[in-house]
Symmetry: C2
Subunit: 309 residues, 2 copies
């Protein structure tokens, strides 16, 4: 194979009570990466579109090329690879933009080489790319982008990732207000310690959410989608968060929270119709604050990356 | 019906990472409660055996009579009930002794009356009994004793209890060293706050344990049975804890932890044979410290209370 074009999806990490351990993938938005073999060794970024010139072209700093390099180094391969990256999702939105690029890149190069590794085995290389972008090797965007569905990061050391199939009727409504929050700021405002009683509340909800997802118990999913630790702090960085969340729940969402470290806000609903209504209500709230939004409605993406051509 | 005799099982609460939210029932040990209707109204404790005279005979202080009174008050019934309580398990052992009595009592009176309420509906009355004994209305012993299986207490306010069916081959080995720890002491030594990073580790494990239980993934259960918050503190109250736990894991246990607030230690294993071997090794460790033990081996009890006659 000389060339491949891959779509990798946006992801919602920090799913309410599942801070740092739970994420899921959607069908849109996402990134497209085209990889072409070239005769001389080395990795080159030939083109990046849709990033407004913000992403690094240096192959040692770009999440896609770093991921590919980590993969090729691991397999002791010295191929030549040209990268064409098309950002089809907003940067810094809390939707796993850098993870999508890293996953598309590493999934694509694995296809080019003849698929020697499984998606789960690709995870460490995609995480390398993510590390370059975020300074921390979190897996809660990369893993769902790569594996699809809901993904639990049970442990980072050692890395232990468990795919959890989502109920079929679960739809996400995602609203991205066009304001800026740096991931590092969103992390630095978190308190380093918390009360044991709040931690117990949180892990009760985590256990409930996981049970609800596996057993397809939508009521339990809804009751469990509560975050008493991170959301109360981070939501202060998002103007109108409380109104948007209320609007989503009033429109029938099972639950609502911050996507990743924000500013995007996501809701989960039990049908496409409800998810559409919820998205409209969320967008309307931001409109009242004169904030322009991107709006995405999607079932949970069970498959992960897609080979476009 | 004029008379009924009920067995209610011992329970393991605080199942490793599931502090305050996860418990399970076993088939032995447990308590037996006989209830007889009498013609005049009022509740009387006629007999308590096996408690060494330690339990209160005052109907306003005994966990069984308090639970029955709460039940009868709720239904606005003025029956006369005689209680015969036979403790067939150690008191203060961390095996839900007071919960077993409360559950047997309230389950029994519901049978006497003609079963107007479901087991789930009996929970608040059994919790009243537990409150009398412990000063706190925890549900993580009472709920599994009443419902059987593993039980998740997702939330206390409002009370939200979810039964989780355990894998069929899961066996508990329980060793009760005959030393004393008061529940209140075991709670008071816990730190009131913790680090966010430790909380994340804990809820990753909680999510893994729940997933493992529902999906019957024994390896995942094993990897997830880790408590980085409560066990490191409470285990200091149990002489030989580290050796006993190592012995259990070396003998093939999936995981091992403190039962309730101790001093009992429990392990989970994948077969009856392994559970027996594990129990023997755990007991041997305590013997080396000249500590006498009660030893119990049991599959997870899926049914809860049992009508003996």
């Amino acid at each position: 194979m000389r060339s491949v074009k891959i779509f990798a999806p946006a992801t919602v990490a920090n799913v309410t009570c599942g801070f740092d351990i739970l994420g899921f993938a959607v069908h849109q938005p996402g990134d497209e990466v085209t990889l072409k073999r070239k005769d001389s060794p080395g990795i080159i970024i030939q083109e990046i579109k849709g990033d407004g010139g913000l992403l690094p072209r240096d192959i040692n700093k770009n999440t896609a090329s770093v991921a590919i390099k980590a993969y090729l180094d691991h397999l002791k391969l010295d191929c030549g690879i040209e990268i064409f990256l098309e950002k089809k999702m907003p940067l810094g939105s809390g939707l796993g933009s850098s993870a999508a690029s890293a996953v598309a890149a590493v999934f694509g190069v694995n296809e080019l080489i003849g698929r020697p590794l499984s998606p789960m085995e690709l995870l460490p290389f995609a995480m390398q790319g993510e590390f370059e972008a975020c300074g921390e090797a979190h897996a809660d965007n990369v893993a769902p982008a790569l594996l699809g569905g809901f993904v639990l990061i049970r442990s980072y050391n050692p890395l232990d990732v468990v795919k959890i199939d989502a109920p079929k009727d679960l739809f996400a409504s995602i609203v991205h207000p066009q304001i800026e929050i740096a991931t590092k700021d969103a992390r630095s405002i978190l308190k380093k310690s918390l009360l044991l009683k709040d931690a117990v509340t949180q892990w009760g909800n985590v256990a409930g959410l996981i049970t609800g997802l596996i057993k397809e118990d939508y009521d339990l999913i809804s009751r469990s989608m509560e975050d008493v630790i991170v959301e109360p702090v981070r939501s202060m960085l998002i103007p109108g968060f409380d109104q948007v969340k209320s609007a989503a729940l009033n429109a029938g969402a099972l639950g609502c929270g911050i996507s990743g470290s924000g500013p995007s806000i996501f809701s989960l609903s039990r049908s496409s119709e409800t998810a559409t209504k919820v998205a409209n209500e969320m967008e309307a709230c931001f409109k009242q604050l004169d904030i322009i939004c991107d709006v995405f409605i999607s079932p949970v993406n069970q498959e992960g990356p897609l080979i476009i051509s």
